[in-house]
Symmetry: C2
């Protein structure tokens, strides 16, 4: 069943809680933009899968199911459930034998990326991935300028530690430009982050 919001956008099934609330509260001006990065990445991952480039999926949004109506098994309806905080990143999969694990975030800020976009345990998860020799990063989209950057895990960790040690609670856009890699928009795929990951491996 495909569910449509009043704004006519097809429901993607796994936006983050903030986006769901914003969508359902009909703040569609932001929710549309809020969905865009996810939609672009879903399209990109579909392209990667259909072209045998990589197998990456967005994880379902974690919910705590409390009450389910099941007149028949096929028609089970969840009547009460709650959003749970994700303990990992949103996207993971395999590319060319390598484990890929990343988070995608947007910010409306022009000058910096607020680190409150992450939870401590997500950072810990990404550090564990690095320890297991997986590839982890964050894809950051600056909504107002529609610029997309890929920031390696180790770079994210550096700025996270700076915050933990009492430093600023965000990464300056200048720092992202300096330490990250800008991903240009494409047609197919829209956000070719694997090409960027290949550059990382050459370093």
């Amino acid at each position: 069943m495909v569910f449509h919001y009043p704004n006519g956008k097809k429901y993607q099934g796994t936006p983050n809680v903030k986006n769901i609330n914003k969508q359902l509260s009909k703040q569609s001006s932001y929710s549309n933009r809020g969905m865009t990065l996810e939609e672009d990445l879903n399209e990109t991952n579909l392209y990667y899968r259909t072209h045998n480039i990589a197998v990456v999926h967005k994880k379902p949004i974690p919910v705590q199911i409390v009450n389910v109506d099941y007149p028949s098994r096929s028609a089970a309806v969840i009547k009460e459930a709650y959003f749970r905080q994700a303990s990992t990143t949103d996207y993971n999969g395999v590319w060319n034998g390598k484990y890929i694990d990343f988070e995608a975030k947007e910010t409306k800020s022009n000058s910096s990326f607020p680190l409150r976009n992450f939870h401590e345990h997500q950072i810990e998860h990404m550090k564990s991935v690095v320890q297991q020799e997986g590839i982890t990063f964050v894809i950051i989209r600056f909504v107002t300028t529609d610029e997309i950057f890929l920031l390696e895990g180790k770079v994210l960790f550096f700025y996270w530690e700076r915050m933990v040690k009492g430093g600023r609670k965000s990464i300056k856009k200048d720092e992202i430009i300096k330490d990250g890699i800008k991903i240009p928009y494409g047609l197919h795929p829209r956000i070719d982050y694997i090409k960027t990951v290949q550059k990382l491996n050459l370093l």
Copy 2:
């Protein structure tokens, strides 16, 4: 919030639909057993993570969210949602630089493992994982004898094709014993499948 079922079992958050319905319909004699493999694997994955052996998580159960009450963002309540069919396997992660992707299934049958436990697209997903040089397999538990086997993707594919070509719709237990690897129960971790995967790599 920790939700407890009448049978006193802590709700794990991500059992499959069948288990949820069985649990909520209070068929606890099976649901308890139905949860066991998942509980054992969750404990095993926690052990792997805390001991820096591997980073493997069970994916959240996919739900189609239709209606959410949000008196305040922190207290958003999902009022209507539906179970969606998983397009991938339940477990994935990284071990020693390698991508791990598997499904865990139980059967009450003593003599065979019914292939209806899988969907076509799950098999396709596992084939894509192999194509990307990831490690994929299924962990099968025979409930009545409490035996656990690991079956490599290529073995599962072989028997799936046999069914597609008009052959039997299940894998004989004898075939699983012959082509799979039995995983002995342990204390910590309870189901040391990584040790079995290491054996596979030696082949």
